[in-house]
């Protein structure tokens, strides 16, 4: 479809005899949140790795804005417009909150090769970073060391770093992980508003959040997409119920 921002076509990845992803084809369209759900070990993290470039696929393609980015490295995919957050926070723990977000701003502006001008004196970088922090509600904590943040704040910071890139599409790996009820509700509200800026491919275990946010859901089991559709269709799917036996679908 013409409004498809991010697409995978027949992605495959095996680790020895184990097929972690098996012919996975998904689309992420403008303005939507497309959730990927599945039991533990279903291949969700592998799929995210293949899409973001951290894992090399055995077969298949990844397209971003109609461009085949399969052969590109992670940093090139980020430059092409892919913003990623991690399941386990990958932040510079010794640095301040602001420095973590500045890293995103440096990446977004291609400023990693500036040697002489101090970061603190660069208004554009700081403005971009502070805007992202303000949006996730962390502006007041800008001088706090990342290691001193709560788990929930680290999740917010993960999203803030991705925001600085102003990506064409977000790939978010369990942004609600470890958040309490309040934190999860706040993050859900934030992501709901974010979809109009860039669509979100959301891997998430929090089913309440998924059902509240997702326009479409794809269910991954043993590396294969077994069902794809809107919330009602997924709820009604017998195959999904069977895969999730004992879980709250």
């Amino acid at each position: 479809m013409s409004d498809t921002i991010l697409a995978t076509r027949n992605l495959q990845k095996s680790f020895g005899a184990l097929k972690a992803t098996d012919n996975v084809s998904i689309d992420l369209r403008a303005g939507e949140i497309h959730a990927i759900i599945g039991p533990n070990g279903a291949g969700k993290s592998t799929l995210i790795g293949q899409i973001s470039g951290g894992l090399k696929s055995d077969a298949g393609q990844v397209h971003l804005m109609g461009r085949d980015v399969t052969a590109l490295a992670t940093e090139a995919r980020a430059k092409a417009g892919l913003g990623r957050t991690f399941q386990i926070s990958a932040l510079a723990m010794e640095d301040t909150v602001l420095e973590n977000v500045l890293l995103g701003a440096i990446g977004a502006t291609g400023g990693g090769w500036r040697f002489l001008r101090g970061v603190s004196g660069d208004r554009d970088l700081n403005a971009r970073a502070m805007e992202a922090l303000a949006r996730v509600g962390l502006a007041a904590a800008k001088d706090t060391r990342c290691a001193d943040l709560s788990h929930g704040q680290r999740r917010q910071l993960e999203v803030a770093v991705a925001l600085t890139l102003q990506p064409k599409a977000f790939v978010m790996d369990e942004p609600m992980a470890g958040l309490g009820a309040e934190g999860s509700k706040a993050m859900t509200g934030f992501l709901d508003g974010l979809r109009s800026e860039a669509p979100i491919l959301l891997v998430e275990h929090d089913m309440d959040a998924v059902f509240a946010l997702a326009d479409r859901i794809s269910v991954l089991v043993y590396g294969r997409i077994i069902a794809s559709g809107n919330v009602d269709e997924i709820r009604a799917s017998a195959e999904v119920r069977e895969a999730y036996l004992g879980e709250s679908v």
Partner: protein, 327 residues
């Protein structure tokens, strides 16, 4: 606790006051000792950029120190013996000009760092340590076998090289020259650390996967930092050779690589003045304890163990109460 800025200013003041006192007291040997500390600090500033900011535990930085030394030794040897330096069909004259020697030392070391970095930075952790050590040993044994330039016996230079407007044979004048070089290197280290490049490099040390996902290349940043680091350590090697008027394969030795790491750990890894404090303590121990016993390294080991166990930020960390970066 003391602010790090105050510690830094006190160290700089000490670097000026000690030689001035020595000059006033006619303690020329103290000036030479301080010069030695300043040059070792310069070499460690180079390593600190790679190790302290970039997290690259190079156990082969003596390669660049030795290359700087041999750049000086070879150029000065050809100048003093009035023989040309043959590069295939090219025939070049030697020189006693420090500026030319420094340039050659830094370019040669930077080129070597680029090649070594290109190969070594494909690895991380203990493999990186081992591969840099292996390069160091290769250069060490090559220097031993290089009979044209003294082989195992090394190469003596009769007169210290010259610098316009200075009499470098006067110890205090040579000291000021080395101190200026150190200050320039410290400014470079400080500007690098506070620049977008430095912030990125510091993040590469902590979370390379994050750096990739914001569109930056961790390995290229590490390589550039390694090259800058090698060039600075190479300059230190040229000055060290000029201080002693002698170069030998020991400038390439793994012990020297290890000592540079020890200097940084004692002073404070990744701290601006960490290498300076470490070098000052090292040279002081070497002189005073070395006068008491040949086995003074035992006490250096005790200090190192205490700092690693109880003061992760080195001496600066102990003074300021702030732990340093984790490498």
């Amino acid at each position: 606790m003391i602010g790090e800025r105050h510690v830094n200013l006190a160290v700089l003041a000490g670097l000026v006051i000690v030689p001035l006192w020595a000059l006033w007291a006619d303690e020329i040997f103290t000036i030479t000792l301080t010069t030695r500390a300043v040059i070792l600090a310069l070499a460690a500033v180079g390593l600190n950029i790679a190790l302290g900011i970039g997290g690259m535990v190079s156990f082969g930085h003596a390669v660049f120190f030795g290359l700087g030394g041999y750049a000086m030794g070879i150029l000065a040897f050809h100048a003093q013996s009035y023989t040309p330096l043959q590069f295939g069909p090219l025939s070049l004259a030697g020189t006693k000009s420090m500026q030319v020697i420094w340039l050659v030392a830094m370019v040669t070391s930077a080129l070597a760092a680029w090649v070594i970095g290109l190969l070594s930075l494909r690895t991380t952790g203990v493999y990186f340590i081992m591969i840099t050590l292996a390069f160091g040993q290769m250069f060490f044994y090559f220097a031993i076998s290089w009979g044209s330039y003294g082989g195992e016996d090394g190469l003596s230079i009769y007169v210290r090289n010259g610098f316009p407007g200075l009499n470098t044979l006067v110890p205090i004048q040579f000291f000021w020259l080395c101190l200026v070089a150190l200050c320039v290197a410290l400014v470079v280290q400080w500007r690098l650390r506070t620049s977008p490049f430095g912030l990125t490099l510091n993040a590469v040390r902590q979370t390379p996967q994050r750096v990739e996902t914001v569109g930056l290349n961790p390995r290229k940043h590490k390589l550039v930092a390694f090259v800058i680091s090698g060039a600075i350590t190479g300059l230190a090697g040229a000055l060290f050779a000029d201080l002693n008027r002698f170069v030998s394969p020991t400038m390439f030795s793994w012990q020297l690589s290890g000592e540079l790491i020890i200097l940084i750990i004692i002073g404070g890894v990744g701290r601006l003045m960490g290498p300076v404090i470490g070098a000052a303590i090292f040279v002081a121990l070497e002189h005073w304890l070395g006068g008491l016993t040949d086995f003074w390294h035992i006490w250096l080991g005790v200090i190192l163990i205490c700092i690693v166990l109880f003061g992760r930020g080195g001496v600066i960390g102990l003074l300021t109460g702030k732990e340093g970066p984790h490498v």
